[in-house]
């Protein structure tokens, strides 16, 4: 089973690189810094229609009026936006000529995760040869989707090919004036994915950025828009379990999801960007705005996230439950080690009647890291019979780390039933002793216990991810013992 999966993964990841950017535009970057001209330049380079340029400019003007938020339980260094290059065409040249040049520590990690050699090369930025059969995999994949009428392409293509859909939905869930990083993303977003599932279609495949050409290197300002029309279903995977080395320090992505009547969207993320070294130097800042809008009655959205990477994570996948009987779910595992900081959680905004939401958040902090859950459950006055249950658990491994919970419950309707539970604890010595006694090393024992602790969330992940996510957790916590 696992072998088959590996094979599939190997094939499909290989395909990215074969058809990836070898033929794409020249590697050109624009000057550092952010100004109106830069925004215009980005739009021009992407041959965008007029409305997109206007949208970007409005967002940019609004961004200028904002200040970087400081309310999160994070220590964010000042970001100098004039030092950032806001547009870079995808890398065409590999960074290394052979796998031998790659950092041995990284190779070691790959091996532990059981990532096939070709994929390792791809991820580390080594030139990869064509992989057999990848053509057929990709073609079959495209054909299957086309048959059903599903649109799955890059957002740049969508802007040109489906301007009506884009004009209607882009920025409808996360408006450009939503927050600081959303405004920034709206002004300068580079690329991302667009998914449209027509009425009554159940997407037969797990859609993954893995499968789409141009998926890699979408840049630091990724933009995703998913529209699930009436009675449709789609499961979307984002990210990858393998460690991603990336030279962009700041990532500010936006994900918007619109769910129509009786439609269901499942969005899974595994994020394992470079978390910085053991002393907390370097690492990615991950400031993401993710929101799903359950527009239709009986619609459903389910967020699942496994966050192990990035030096700073600032991310609150949210659900606006407008349709009556709509359902929002949020499953999260956030692991922090060394000097990582995470402030993550969700917002459940109940607007429709009989809406339900479920929050399961599991935090694991080790080393000198800080891990916070921040969540809002809001029941509006008209949301009769709303129901919410939240469970936020934190596990502490080490006496220098911190685990925090900041839930907000705002209830304006007396028929609502809202429950919140949170616990914080450490792994019991008796539990470790029990495992030791049965021949497990302490490190393995912790891996086992942590995996048991997060099982509820991991179970929500599609099969392909679940196995790797488990290994990843164990790996992220390596060196956190003793």
């Amino acid at each position: 089973m696992a072998e088959d999966q590996n094979k599939i993964l190997e094939e499909v990841t290989g395909s990215d690189y074969k058809f990836g950017f070898t033929t794409s535009i020249d590697t050109e970057t624009i000057p550092k810094g952010l100004s109106e001209d830069v925004v215009r330049l980005i739009s021009a380079k992407k041959n965008e229609p007029e409305f997109m340029l206007n949208y970007r400019l409005e967002a940019y003007k609004h961004w200028l009026t904002l200040k970087q938020p400081d309310w999160a339980h994070l220590n964010i260094p000042e970001i100098n936006f004039q030092e950032i290059i806001f547009y870079a065409a995808p890398r065409t040249k590999p960074k290394y000529d052979s796998i031998d040049d790659v950092d041995p520590e990284l190779i070691d990690t790959f091996n532990k995760l059981g990532i096939p050699l070709n994929e390792q090369k791809a991820l580390a930025g080594v030139a990869v040869d064509a992989v057999m059969d990848s053509v057929s995999v990709k073609t079959t994949f495209k054909e299957t989707l086309a048959e059903k009428g599903i649109i799955f392409c890059s957002i740049s293509d969508a802007i040109k090919e489906f301007p009506d859909l884009i004009q209607k939905y882009l920025g409808s869930v996360v408006t450009y004036n939503d927050n600081y990083f959303a405004a920034l993303n709206s002004a300068v977003f580079s690329d991302g994915s667009f998914v449209y599932i027509p009425k009554g279609v159940r997407c037969p495949l797990e859609l993954s950025t893995y499968f789409r050409i141009n998926a890699m290197n979408t840049g630091q300002f990724e933009r995703t828009l998913i529209i699930a029309d009436d009675d449709s279903y789609v499961s979307y995977l984002e990210g990858c379990t393998a460690p991603m080395r990336d030279e962009n320090q700041l990532h500010a992505a936006i994900v918007e999801i619109v769910v129509m009547e009786r439609a269901e969207v499942k969005y899974s993320t595994v994020q394992n960007w470079y978390p910085g070294d053991k002393n907390g130097v370097g690492g990615i800042f991950n400031f993401v705005t993710k929101r799903a809008f359950c527009k239709g009655d009986y619609s459903k959205i389910s967020w699942t996230q496994v966050e192990t990477g990035s030096s700073i994570t600032w991310k609150y996948p949210s659900c606006i439950l407008k349709g009556d009987h709509s359902v929002g779910e949020f499953y999260s595992v956030a692991v922090t080690n060394n000097y990582q900081q995470a402030d993550t959680g969700t917002k459940m905004i109940h607007l429709g009647k009989h809406t339900k939401s479920l929050i399961v958040s599991k935090g694991v902090s080790a080393g000198k890291s800080q891990n916070s859950y921040r969540g809002l459950v809001k029941v509006s006055k008209k949301a009769n019979d709303a129901r919410n249950f939240s469970q936020c658990d934190s596990l502490l491994l080490g006496d220098k780390c911190g685990a925090h919970t900041f839930p907000y419950l705002e209830i304006n309707n007396n028929t609502a039933i809202v429950e919140h539970e949170a616990t914080t604890s450490k792994i019991g010595e008796d539990q470790i002793f029990y495992c030791n006694q049965r021949g497990l090393s302490t490190e393995d024992a912790i891996g086992l216990i942590v995996n048991g602790y997060v099982k509820e969330v991991i179970n929500q992940l599609p099969m392909e991810f679940a196995v790797e996510a488990q290994k990843l957790l164990q790996l992220s916590l390596e060196g956190s013992v003793g």
Binding site: S394, H404, L409, E410, I411, E421, K426
Partner: protein, 462 residues
């Protein structure tokens, strides 16, 4: 004038008022009290009267209620009526040491026969001059001016209040009862500063009752600093029963030393806008803290309980239970912050906040928070907002109880969990009765009490 600029003005006017009154306030007070005024002023200038933009006051905007044009009583000379308050506070079969404060000032007619040796009960004004060494040691130590803008405002204007000092090893069986009365013929801004010092190994109980006796608008900003010495056992009962035009910010700032045990049980029976700030610092090992709260809101009342438990040292225990029933278009909020500092290992901290919403217009916001920097801890919090259990209602109705009776019984059962924590038996019985009356709507009609805004002839409390 826009609302925003009006708000800025409120703060500025409070600063101007203070600058005008500073010499009168400082006259004859201990130098430390006067020094802290300037420190507090600096903080207040930055923060101002809190509004909902301040994270800790997210659900309670105080700016409209603290008006600089309200009268402020500064010195003894400002008191118009010095007569004995015609106020009886009797709990059957309970002997207490009773003291009154009127409009935030210690009532001079208070007498305490049979008070154990060494126990001091006096006004804050007198205490700072008579006992400078205690003032130096304790004043302004737990209620840090930078922790809260209202503490800063209080420290700026600190002049009077009550002081209770219990010497080492002293055990007082009967509770000390403080009755805070508000009575005046104009709208009043009351700034009350209290100090409770319980030295090592002592045991005592303090009941603090807040009442309004006249129908004017009152804006009360009270700060009570509480020091609990090693192995001391101390209970504080708070009872707030005020009319709807009252705005009260009641800050209780507690520091506990090794092996001490503190219980705070705060009941908000009736009020206008109430904000309770309860800060507890567990500054010693093996401390125990129990915080309980009950609030029963109706009409447009608003009760905001803010608690902050700071586990500084290892091996401590804290538990919190706050319950509320919200009727009509009332609102409420709860913030419970538990901080476990690095090295405060083996901490056990538990918190629970449960609320009943009775009408579609009632609303509640809750913010239970954990901030944990040590690993060998057991911490949990839980919060629920909901309505009455239909099954339980049905069960009672099927046993022949009327709908109203069944509702009252369930509400009463819901609140009893907090009431039963009261360790003084007669007081428990009294509160139990009061809560039941309150649910039956009888408290409002009570002729002898002014809580509903009607002026009674004879006033009694509890």
């Amino acid at each position: 004038m826009s609302i925003a600029s009006q708000m800025v003005n409120t703060t500025e006017q409070f600063i101007k008022l203070f600058e005008k009154n500073q010499s009168a306030l400082s006259n004859g007070m201990h130098p430390k009290v006067n020094q802290l005024r300037d420190v507090a002023l600096n903080h207040f200038k930055q923060t101002g009267i809190p509004n909902t933009k301040v994270e800790n006051y997210k659900y309670t905007n105080l700016q409209p209620f603290f008006r600089p044009e309200y009268k402020q009583i500064i010195t003894k000379e400002d008191i118009s009526d010095n007569s004995n308050p015609n106020f009886k506070c009797e709990v059957p079969q309970l002997d207490t040491y009773q003291l009154f404060t009127i409009n935030g000032r210690f009532f001079q007619g208070n007498t305490f026969p049979k008070l154990p040796d060494g126990v001091i009960i006096c006004s804050f004004e007198d205490f700072t001059t008579k006992y400078p060494e205690h003032t130096e040691k304790y004043y302004g130590e737990t209620a840090q001016v930078n922790s809260d803008a209202m503490v800063a405002l209080n420290t700026m204007n600190a002049r009077d209040g009550f002081v209770i000092y219990i010497p080492k090893g002293c055990i007082i069986d009967n509770p000390i009862q403080v009755v805070n009365l508000m009575i005046d013929n104009t709208d009043l801004f009351v700034n009350q500063r209290n100090l409770i010092i319980a030295e090592n190994d002592c045991q005592a109980k303090v009941m603090i009752c807040d009442h309004t006796v006249s129908t004017q608008r009152f804006a009360i900003n009270a700060v009570t600093e509480v020091f609990i010495g090693e192995r001391a056992v101390f209970d504080i009962y708070g009872l707030q029963s005020q009319h709807n035009m009252t705005t009260q910010v009641a800050g209780t700032y507690i520091t506990q030393k090794t092996g001490s045990n503190v219980m705070v049980n705060n009941l908000t029976l009736h009020s206008g806008i109430v904000r309770n700030n309860i800060y507890v610092t567990l500054d010693g090992e093996h401390c125990e803290t129990h915080l309980y709260g009950l609030y029963l809101n109706d009409k447009n009342q608003h009760v905001d309980n803010f608690t902050f438990i700071d586990h500084v040292k290892p091996n401590c225990f804290s538990s919190e239970l706050f319950k509320g029933v919200l009727d009509d278009y009332s609102s409420g909020s709860f913030t419970g912050k538990i901080m476990v500092r690095p090295n405060a290992q083996k901490t056990n901290a538990f918190q629970s906040n449960r609320n009943l919403l009775l009408t579609p217009d009632a609303k509640f916001n809750t913010k239970p928070q954990l901030e944990i920097y040590a690993d060998d801890v057991k911490c949990s919090h839980g919060a629920t907002v909901g309505q009455m259990d239909e099954n339980a209602l049905f069960y009672l109705r099927s046993r022949g109880l009327s709908k109203e009776e069944a509702r009252i019984l369930l509400m009463y059962a819901f609140t009893y969990e907090v009431i039963e924590k009261i360790k003084v038996e007669p007081l428990k019985e009294q509160i139990r009765g009061l809560v039941e009356k309150r649910f039956r709507g009888e408290l409002d009609k009570c002729e002898s009490c002014v809580v509903c805004g009607q002026l009674g002839h004879q006033i009694s409390c509890l």
